[in-house]
Amino acid sequence: MRKLFLPLTIVTAALFAYAPIAIANAPYESTMLLIQKIFYFHVPAWIAMYSALFVCGIASAIYLFKGRVEADRVAVAAGEIAVLFGLIGLVTGPLWGRKAWGVWWQWDARLTTALLLELILIAYLMVRKYGGPGSEKLAAGVALFGMVDSVFVYKSVDWWRTVHPKTSVVTSLGETAPAMMPAFALCAVAFVLLMTLLLMLRVKLAQQQATLNDMYLADEE
């Protein structure tokens, strides 16, 4: 893992260095103009969050059924990182909305879905923190249920919002011109890579914590 870490860091750093230029050069969106630029890191943040959520859920399933503690470490790392990217999405979304909708919060389907998933993820971290001994297993159950639930949350919020459309959802997203795609793809890849890097770092922390626990255990002998 360490061998991969450095090249990944360099690639990610290069992508992030180039991203502002690519974003600046991308054409202005016709109605949203400047504010539409938030799109280039708002949506990638969601992509990163969903990826982390699924990593967390799958790793939890592996931990639950195979009892692999390594999987549990990946799960807790992914859970934390999903909360982080969810937070980024939840903050940048309303900043965009302030301009686009004129209000900070709109019960937009995407934003609502994200808020609910963020709640599930925070609940996951809370079980781990306050559940007492053996809470890793309980948390793994929550993560697995949360991952499956994300599909239902997504669909039901979507239908809840769009079956009776009274106000607009984010229309500008729909007008993504092909000319914006390269910059967007670049940002998306950069965010997913960043998520991977953070995940590796956080797993490293979890490993160190496990080593420390083992040292305490060994010390008692």
Partner: protein, 240 residues
């Protein structure tokens, strides 16, 4: 399918909760006819060991074998061979003694009409059968719980502090009962911190402290002194 076994064996079993070690590398075996006393102060890991043997707690490492199989390999039927009397009594206080026994008899697939009166008789509660368990004294509940856990005639009988709240006469009854089922071919494992009661009952004693097995030997005269050196005075010796 009937899953039976003559021997239960823990091989290098550990159970950790994060930084806390409940059980550390315990290897222990018991065969039919044994009454194995798990002795040790409170918090020594006795209850976790009982939980591990009862398939309620999963080991962090090591394996537990019932005969030549692990619990996972043997499937749910292995639990037909296990009877557990835990510290908490596994009874519904809202139900009567008869209802409690009836429910558990059916849960184990027994003929309730035969098993329930027999168990009530054994517990000496035949005349109180239709009273709520919540109205019983601790001793009565303890007797009822013991019969409940023995109703399906398990091969492996696990008891966690079975003498709590019993008066002398009841203790004698319980110890006699345990001797009888051991003589009939059961493996009896009794976890207790009470040496006086264990003395004379157990055929072997395993002493645990801080989650480790520090002695495993046939019991006999001098058990009390041996235990005292192990648990209190002989800390350094046990560590080495």
């Amino acid at each position: 399918m009937i899953v039976d076994f003559d021997r239960v064996e823990l091989a290098d079993v550990s159970r950790h909760f994060g930084r806390r070690r409940a059980v550390t590398r315990v290897s222990l075996a018991a065969t039919r006819g044994d009454i194995l006393g798990l002795l040790g102060p409170n918090g020594a890991g006795k209850s976790t060991l009982i939980g591990l043997l009862a398939t309620l707690v999963a080991a962090t490492s090591g394996s537990i074998r019932y005969g030549d199989r692990t619990a996972a390999a043997a499937g749910p039927d292995i639990r037909r061979g296990i009877g557990l009397l835990a510290h908490e009594l596994h009874l519904y206080p809202e139900l009567t003694a008869r209802q409690n026994l009836d429910f558990f008899a059916r849960l184990y697939g027994l003929d309730a009409r035969a098993a329930v009166p027999a168990a009530l008789e054994s517990a000496g509660l035949a005349d109180r059968a239709d009273d709520d368990v919540s109205a019983f004294s601790r001793g009565m509940r303890q007797r009822l719980a013991l019969e409940r856990s023995l109703m399906h005639q398990p091969r492996l009988v696990l008891l966690d502090e079975p003498f709590t709240g019993l008066d002398d006469r009841a203790v004698t009854l319980v110890t006699d009962r345990l001797r009888r089922i051991a003589a009939a071919g059961a493996i009896v494992i009794v976890a207790t911190h009470d040496l006086d009661l264990a003395d004379g009952l157990v055929t072997r004693m395993a002493v645990v402290r801080d989650g480790r097995l520090i002695a495993d030997e046939p019991s006999g005269a001098g058990l009390r002194n041996r235990y005292r050196t192990l648990v209190t005075g002989g800390g350094g010796a046990a560590r080495a």
